[in-house]
Amino acid sequence: MTDHTEMLKQERNTPWRVELRNSVPGKDRIAIERVKMNEVEPLERIKSQTCEVNCGLTPEQALHEARRCMDCVNPTCIEGCPVSINIPKFVKQIEAGKFLDAAATLKEFSALPAVCGRVCPQEKQCELKCFYSEKMNKEPVAIGYLERFAADYERLSGKIQIPKVEERNGIKVAAIGSGPSSLSFAGDMIKLGYEVTVFEALHEIGGVLKYGIPEFRLPNSVVDVELENLKEMGVNFEKNFVVGRTASFDDLKELGYKAFFIGSGAGLPNFMNIPGENLNGVMSSNEYLTRVNLMYANQSDSDTPIMLGKRVAVVGGGNTAMDAVRTSKRLGAERSLIVYRRSREEMPARLEEVKHAEEEGIEFMNLANPVEYMPNAEGRVAKARFQRMKLGEPDASGRRKPVAIEGDIFDIDVDLVIVAIGVSPNPLIPACLPGLKISRWGTIEVNEETMQSSIPEIFAGGDIVRGGATVILAMGDGRKAAASMHRYLQEKQKK
């Protein structure tokens, strides 16, 4: 039995857990229906880009939902969590009414619990591994809702607990980029006593959490509180600092930085390279969302206003596509359309996001793929030409492959097209480190166990390594990198 498993077992056998477990018979727990998330009405919420759709659970709802958890002997839910949060412990703390303790448990494992409670695809992670999903064919315990509840409760109570940190050891380390992997890395390294500085190229800290995810899904105020916690713990943040331009790695080494974590993400949008993609009015979801979320380009007094389309087509079926299309609706589009080349069943977007989009009047044109965009007399996109698709055999990812139906082509009037088909790593950092091993896709190659790159003092994680993945996976990378950088620096000190 591993130390971790033993620790979980011991915690499960603490008297308060045993008493709580025995207080409600298992069959009664199973009989409880899963709680429904409270939401703002669609017609109301589409009036504002900053109106959060999900309202969170009330304390009563949280207690009710936490009671469903069976506090399993073998908590498989933890296996589904990339940062290995002690899920039964925090859920049982909620059931016991110890909401602040639950928040503290979450912070032991995650630097961003309020964020993860909102944007993690729990249905594909911890909730998929829940006893209810695996053994009962019932709806799983709403772990994500409970995580959000505990984090929000703490934030709104004003009794924010700052995790304990070790005494400063005077060793300087840097994180490059301020997205989820870097923040997670910074949180763990500061706890271990390092002097941590996070360098961010933009004028806002938070990376994709700020520029990518709209406020109706993840309010900036929620992210800011988590950032404030890190600042309180001692993390130093430098904005408007482009590592490789403002200062080189050598400059930073001269300033005393002993090791680096690169979490600069995947900020380079992918395109389809089809005719007309360079027309005015065709843009990437990166540009569209960054300009709205970070630069407020939708506001009338913006110095660089964004095109507000009336007939908007968003190409793609992921969460970013949903964010973009729902944003367009909020910015006044009469017709907002998702164009996706597979069927709804294959869409990578979270089911909740698809449901919300449908409620908000987003149209879904599945099994269609753009092949060309045509301009009006002013050179702005006016029509999009689509190829009708059908589903073929499954590919290696297990999803059925889209196949063109020969000759089945049709046009639709559009005045704004947003391409949301994925992103690639930002090439700047790899380009200024000649000895750094990178893949042909521009991702940094690392030892998967340690996240250490071909340059020993450089570690990396998140989308710059994976090409594009979830927030929580990036956070897991940050944690793993922190642990191995700590080992690396300790070894180096001994020599």
Binding site: N270, N273, G318, D395, A396, R399, A404, R466, G468
Partner: protein, 332 residues
């Protein structure tokens, strides 16, 4: 003065000897050698649609968790972008080192957006496009009509998109080969190359497993294209290039006599190197001089179906007299 000039790929070629698409033509150094040794045209290694599909599948196998669904969703476009960027570079590199026309070769197994990239190949500077079309007809639910529809749709899609000449390289796997060629010739093509030669499976009887057969043609294989060039060259409204199993100047001459406008060769250069091209060109020149021909057109097609003294040889499929003769001679 003997002229070897001919027309194929919608271009005037200084001679009918075309370096066929192969790994030899994926390298600018080799392309320079072929050009310096007098190639009439050089067809670059094909950019394969299947290669992109296979690469996507390999990546998908390493990223099976739900975390990567969004990443993988359109990743084939990313692979394609990179493949086409490097192909564009190959075209530019080849153009910079070759006096011979550079022909891009696009392989496809489906129609749809893949074929849009023909215009990118054009933008990169290719002098013409060879469409390398082939779907192995092993699906019992697909008819000859399905096959024909695919070929014609793919050709139309590319011809409509580009201004440079387009040719097609086909296989012999058709139940109605002459009819399909006739239909293709009606699609504004600048040539048809017959035939493509494919990787074949073989069996290792010791290990009892399937292996790849050796990749090179042998010189008896030229008789298949010889027959069809002879039959079709006078009947199609577009030029024909012969390909597969052509190793010598003598075989080149046979193809021209049967009616080919040009020939494509690859295997011989794997075995003898790019400099061997000059030997073949000289053999052709010497033969023409010996025969008193001043240009290719003086003798091209002299032994095609409509001009040969005994055209029934082309349509005869049985060995009646030949086997009889051999059997008789053995008995003596």
């Amino acid at each position: 003065m003997t002229s070897l000039k001919t027309r194929f790929f919608g271009l005037e070629l200084k001679n009918p000897l075309i370096i066929a698409s192969s790994s030899l033509t994926a390298d600018a150094g080799k392309i320079r050698e072929f050009s310096e040794n007098g190639a009439g045209a050089i067809v670059l290694k094909s950019v394969f649609e299947e290669e992109i599909i296979n690469e996507y599948n390999q990546i998908a196998q390493t990223k099976t968790s739900a975390h990567f669904e969004e990443f993988l969703d359109y990743f084939d476009y990313k692979i394609r972008e990179q493949v086409l960027a490097s192909y564009g570079q190959l075209i530019r590199d080849a153009k910079s080192v070759s006096e011979a026309p550079i022909i891009a070769s696009i392989n496809c197994v489906s129609t749809g957006d893949w074929l849009q990239f023909a215009s990118q190949v054009q933008d990169a500077g290719a002098d013409a496009i060879e469409l390398n079309l082939f779907v192995m007809p092993c699906d019992p639910l697909k008819t000859a009509e399905d096959q024909r529809r695919f070929y014609l749709a793919a050709v139309r899609e590319v011809v409509d998109r580009v201004n440079i000449p387009v040719t097609v390289k086909i296989s012999s796997y058709f139940s109605d080969l002459a009819s399909v060629c006739n239909a293709l010739a009606g699609e504004k093509l600048s040539g048809i190359t017959m035939f493509n030669r494919f990787a074949n499976p073989d069996i290792d009887i010791e290990k009892e497993k399937l292996v790849e057969a050796q990749p090179f043609s042998n010189d008896s294989e030229h008789l298949l294209p010889l027959r069809w060039v002879g039959i079709l060259s006078p009947r199609l409204g577009c030029p024909i290039a012969a390909s597969t199993g052509i190793y010598t100047g003598e075989q080149v001459i046979k193809m021209l006599l049967a009616g080919a406008n040009a020939v494509q060769m690859a295997s011989v250069f794997y075995k003898k190197g790019p400099a061997h091209l000059t030997v073949i060109i000289k053999d052709l020149e010497h033969w023409m001089q010996k025969k008193g021909y001043e240009s290719i057109e003086d003798f091209r097609g002299r032994l095609s179906l409509t001009k040969a003294a005994d055209p029934s040889m082309y349509s005869r499929a049985q060995y009646l007299s030949s086997f009889g003769g051999y059997a008789g001679s053995e008995r003596k």
